[in-house]
Symmetry: C2
């Protein structure tokens, strides 16, 4: 699979000795991204053998502590380990205010570029893209402003049929075009159609992360047909009233959304003390 | 022993999967205090079976992340678990600024009274006392302002000799005075000296915590004759120059201080990656 997700923590607000608050590493063809960063995320990354410095971008859903209290420590460790490459950080604008205050009072000047991108309330759309993935955000409904994120693997190039290339003696410099879908013209003017030379790539995969949120169908367009949906649902149906009051979802509500959005697979988190 | 220390973390700035940054729980006759609170302290407390809500006061040496990044999470958990009793928090004034900003953006209003006491730069003296212990702070020399802490168990009352009390038919209402050192007068006017009725209590114990600091004999009066000294020393003698540059100590320097201050026992931390 071209997108894999490592759940470093999925506990609700109160961590236990062995269960950590929310953090997930998204691996898209060996490019690594982090969604949320609860306390202890850096320890969990070490435990799971995820190299801290390989994280290219971090996305924070909202400023409840169980979703970001580990961020300052992770950034500090990146700094102390001599990180050179820049890091993109997406989150509510107040996050930058908090980080800057903490760095200031520790007299820490980061050695790497931390490129902060503020996520505006009720905004939606693409916020990040590199060679592997496009990430978009969408608004969730929680007690404080909160974003979900969708990761879409970029379409892959077509797969070369080596035997066909040999047969038509395709020169190396043409291969990139052919991977992108171009036909190939023989010296006698005959056109060899691309489908003869290539096969379909693996379909691009997608993943969506919905943090603490009340049930809302407004997110359906954003999570539509994702291959994998992680939806937090602190409560079972039995506690529906309390879920609604706290602007959280029940597991059944998450399943309903998943069905309506025709998602491939649903993972439900976090696990609360209940 | 009437004071015991549980080292929850003693790693230097970069935590690993199994080694946590600085935090120590000081137990004085079953009253619990926390010195420093690196990331993951609350998980470590659960692992070691220390009840989070029993912590009466927290003392933060300085605002480098490995000494306090776990504090906000611990306070948040105390709040979520419904803490009612007040908590004293001692640390640099900037700490309150940071905590208030984080609580504000999480829209969290603590359910318990957090009584913050600012430690002024270069101050020294008693900052806390309850029925069990007096805590004083003293200035350390580090890259940012930094305090050490000394815990002195309060003198205990004298130990009653039950057989002597029975022999002289001492009434119950006199016992408190006698424990405090009073003599006892018999009905015929004879004075029974306190030493006949009581024996010496166990001597009051003391503990001092010296966080990241360069070698300085200015702390000798403050750590004088403590039973137990925890002194951080990130470097061995081989790295003395680097220790001096970073305003840290070597292990040998910590031992020298311990000897000059005539301390009972010395524990050296933290363990760095070296």
């Amino acid at each position: 699979m071209a997108i894999s997700v490592t759940i470093l923590g999925s506990n609700s607000a109160i961590p236990t000795a062995n269960r950590f608050p929310t953090a997930q590493v998204i691996n898209v063809n060996q490019s690594y991204y982090l969604v949320d960063c609860g306390e202890g995320t850096q320890m969990q990354m070490r435990k799971y053998g995820i190299k801290i410095q390989r994280i290219k971008a971090i996305f924070i859903t909202h400023l409840h502590g169980d979703h970001y209290f580990g961020l300052i420590g992770l950034l500090n460790t990146m700094h102390l380990l001599g990180r050179q490459s820049s890091l993109e950080l997406h989150g509510p604008s107040e996050l930058l205010e908090i980080l800057e205050l903490m760095f200031k009072h520790a007299d820490t000047r980061l050695q790497f570029d931390l490129n902060f991108r503020s996520i505006e309330e009720n905004s939606a759309g693409k916020i990040y893209e590199d060679g592997q993935v496009a990430v978009s955000n969408f608004p969730l409904k929680h007690r404080i402003k909160c974003s979900g994120f969708r990761f879409d693997e970029l379409p892959k190039m077509r797969k070369i049929k080596k035997s066909a290339l040999d047969a038509y003696q395709v020169p190396i410099e043409k291969i990139k075009n052919i991977k992108e879908g171009a036909d190939f013209e023989l010296s006698d003017g005959t056109i060899v159609r691309n489908e003869v030379l290539t096969s379909d790539p693996l379909p691009a995969k997608s993943f969506a992360f919905c943090s603490d949120t009340k049930y809302t169908e407004s997110i359906l367009p954003y999570i539509n047909k994702v291959d994998l949906l992680y939806h937090e649902a602190t409560f079972t149906e039995e506690f529906k009233e309390r879920a609604t009051k706290n602007l959280n979802s029940t597991a059944k509500q998450a399943a309903t959304l998943a069905e309506k959005a025709e998602v491939g697979q649903l993972i439900i988190g976090p696990h609360s003390a209940r």
